[in-house]
Symmetry: C2
Subunit: 229 residues, 2 copies
DNA sequence: GAGGTAACTTACTTGAAGTAAGGTGAACCA
DNA sequence: TGGTTCACCTTACTTCAAGTAAGTTACCTC
């Protein structure tokens, strides 16, 4: 037992480690039951370090959420690049989303199953910002291809998509007999016809999967920090 | 200042008061920041009473959620009775839902904005049970009128509806320029065509609002307690 | 009005969030 | 090679809220 004599680790690396451990423990015990002492211990350091780097327990959670959010945004954005049209773009995005939530199911529930708001306003804001980001992406997608629709309709439609995604991902993650593609297909079948007709009430066959528009290139807006202070 | 000398109050009445006060304070401060001492004080009693009646802070939250859940179920169920067909039934249910969330917006966010899971497994289960209840109601509605669809599709569709409702209600509650009816209309327009075609892929005009079926009478399953012990 | 019980209280323990103040090792300069 | 420095890290606290043990008091019943 040659007790490693506590190596000193540069800030960035230590921070990443702390985030990883915290994500794990939050997912394991829930935010309230998780203790900063335990997180510190499993990192092999002492508690004040956590406070030094993240300010508070909530701050630590916010950092976890933000990191996950960045990952998700990058993943889905990448998946959508080069889609053949709006339908294809939406489907690709959905598949990427469901794959992501499946791969990180434990820590995903940290956000989805609502571990967040408990922590306080900052964590709530962070989660809400993530949803809003998705809403904006959806709106951009819809309006790029279907410019006739009024803003209110776009927004409502985007909210519907985001809500449906969120719930369906939990359902999907809980079943082994459904693939990400199938989940996306389910959602597309329910949503697409309605979305199309609602957003663009022109002749019914104008848009039909493959479209005259060029390939879809999403807006990359990265993470828009709500309040970093 | 004739300090009312602390009237003694029967259990049922006191419990109701405690729930009301707790709902208020939870909504006001968030679950974590709310203190049992403050709740007790605002009730005009001392803390151990809360523990006597609800067992724990989480227990108190669970009681609040369950009460709200019962209200919601009763409200929507009542609204749907006597609908002219599946579309009408769904629309009525949605309108009732949005009205409900609007009327109780503060405490609703207690559930929706995720104040729940923070508390622990019991509160999470309670919220999830509420959603599942909605899912079951939707499934019953769909399958009663559209019996051709496989169970998996019904379930996926119901999840989509519940998720969309949840998100759209938050959106709707945050705006003064949208009525409950408009929110329901938005949702119906996005969902209904897809739902209809997905659930019953027969001739496209078989179902069209008014239907040959008799008026819709929902299953009243009340509150199905997850684990009361 | 005696007695029992449901409603209620005071006064504590426990445990985790957050903090003050100081130790230590590695990089860098002479 | 030795000293200086600063980022990394610790010990040892304070504070505050959840939860509890044990006892007290008003109301109801006979």
């Amino acid at each position: 037992m040659t007790e490693t004599p506590r190596r000193r680790v540069p800030r960035a690396e230590r921070e990443a480690q702390m985030r990883a451990v915290a994500e794990e423990i939050f997912a394991e015990r829930g935010f309230v039951a998780a203790s900063m002492d335990e997180i510190a211990e499993r990192c092999g350091i002492s508690k004040p370090m956590l406070y030094e780097y993240f300010g508070s327990k909530e701050g630590l959670l916010v950092a976890c959420i933000r990191a996950a959010r960045a990952d998700l945004a990058a993943t889905t954005t990448a998946a959508v690049v080069g889609a053949a049209g709006p339908e294809d773009a939406l489907r690709r995005g959905l598949v990427a989303f469901f794959r992501f939530t499946d791969a990180r199911r434990r820590s995903w529930s940290l956000v989805l199953r609502n571990e967040a708001a408990v922590a306080g306003p900052a964590a709530t804001a962070e989660v809400e910002a993530g949803r809003q980001q998705q809403v904006e992406i959806d709106i951009a997608l819809f309006s790029a291809f279907l410019p006739h629709a009024p803003r209110l309709d776009l927004e409502a439609a985007a909210q519907v998509v985001v809500g449906a995604c969120e719930r369906l991902s939990l359902w999907y993650v809980g079943r082994d007999d459904v693939t990400a593609e199938q989940a996306a297909d389910h959602l597309m079948r329910v949503l697409w016809t309605g979305l199309r007709s609602m957003l663009d009430p022109g002749p019914d066959d104008t848009v039909d999967g493959t479209v005259d528009s060029p390939t879809w290139t999403p807006v990359d807006r990265g993470i828009d920090a709500p309040t970093s202070g």
